[in-house]
């Protein structure tokens, strides 16, 4: 789901690939891109579940304003994935995934 060829921006330039571990599954990311971009490229849309209602949230603003895309990164909670660069072997977790729906 990457935009390899773009009529204005041209061909996507090559960069080093890094690996992220998302809920135990390895995905590829482009070095320098945000975690949110890497997740979108991998087709992952759910970033977290809300703590009370357990409803899913994903990327909403993509520029660090709304905090909807926050996930747990390397054990640290509430990291804005749209503002945080992917680094090799980062451990990404979907918050509240296992608590089950309350409704």
């Amino acid at each position: 789901m990457r935009v390899q060829n773009h009529p204005i921006l041209g061909v996507l330039h090559e960069v080093r690939e890094v690996a992220l571990v998302v809920d135990g599954v390895r995905i590829a990311a482009r070095e320098g891109e945000t975690i949110a971009a890497a997740l979108a490229a991998a087709g992952i849309r759910i970033h977290r579940y809300t703590p009370k209602q357990s409803t899913p949230r994903g990327v909403f603003c993509a520029i660090g304003q709304c905090t909807d895309c926050a996930m747990t990164v390397n054990g640290r909670p509430n990291v804005r994935t749209c503002m945080t660069r992917a680094a090799n072997e980062m451990i990404i977790e979907t918050p509240n995934q296992s608590q089950g729906r309350l409704d």
Binding site: M1, R2, V3, Q4, H6, P7, I8, L9, L12, E33, T34, A36, A37, A40, A41, R45, I46, H47, T55, P56, R57, G58, V59, F60, C61, A62, I63, G64, Q65, D68, V73, N74, R76, V79, M83, T84, R85, A87, M90
Partner: protein, 377 residues
Amino acid sequence: MTAVDVGIIGAGPAGIAAGIEAATAGCSVALFDGHLEPGGQLIKQIHRFFGSREHRAGVRGIRIAHELWTEAQSLGVQSFLGWEVFGVQSSPSGFRLHARLTDDMSVDDQPISKTVTARTLILATGAEEKAINFEGWTLPGVMGAGAAQTMANVWRVRPGESVLMIGAGNVGLIVSYHLLQAGIDVAAVLEAAPTIGGYGVHAAKISRAGIPILTSHSIIKALGTEHVTGALIAQVDPSWNPISGTERKIDVDSICIAGGLRSNTRLAKLAGCQLAFCRELGGWLPIHNAQLETTVKGIYVAGDAAGIEEASTAIEEGRIAGLVAARSLGRDDKASSDRLDGMKERLSSLRGGPFCEGIRVAKRRIFDLGEEPCPTA
């Protein structure tokens, strides 16, 4: 601790332009932005701008960002990219800005916070997208139009494969075209009003690409339980109430909201600037005078942070704020006075068209409020 004449928050068109003018006038400048890439939203504007040649008509926004940034760098503007300013305090010598490294996940032993003092302050904090609240609007796959644009044009990732765009203002129309260029299928553009809000030239590009623009239509709800799998839409009456019997389902995996923008006023509020509500300019914004000074002496505002307009007006406002700030620090010779007059003229010409009547009236109203004596803080 770093001390500068002019502190600028936001490295979009307004902030960079402010830095260029303040530095040209001989001031030391510190320019902050939470993002690593300078240019603000310009770096997503892959289309050619129109207007007059002096406002870079025919040049793509991404190119304008690059040119402005190169100029600011050559003038010695100190940049703090990737540093989010989260606090503003007044101090005996002006203002104290507290910033934090936006992304410190991969930082080991480098300081992650920083304080800079500035004699004057320019808030060029831009805008944020307004959300539209409908059933299912929090589902993954519902996002701001700007979010989809950022994903496609900056990160070169498709946020979805098929999109329903809500809102046919300029943002909705332009982003729809950008999404098409990224290979995304745009199912339709909905507009609750009976006519589109954006320019005809943008709508024409969409229509030529075969995308229906459905006026007097709105979204009823986003479909899906874990993420968007479709949308229920309907025709609406002049009061924007759905007309029963006109509902239909559209199969998309994403829904983009282009419901307008509002000024980002968080730091202005924190700094004690008085705000006013102005519908034509997007909502709440810091009261300011024609010199762009807020109700707090020494704090200026420019660009979308001073009311929602366009990148070209943001650049001129930034220039004015930068130069006025410099003049307040003693760089107020005849040459800078003439230069300031030129900027104000160019800004007036940008707002001269019939489309801008509401903006002109609204800005005058804000200026009138700004001319009232400052309440003693």
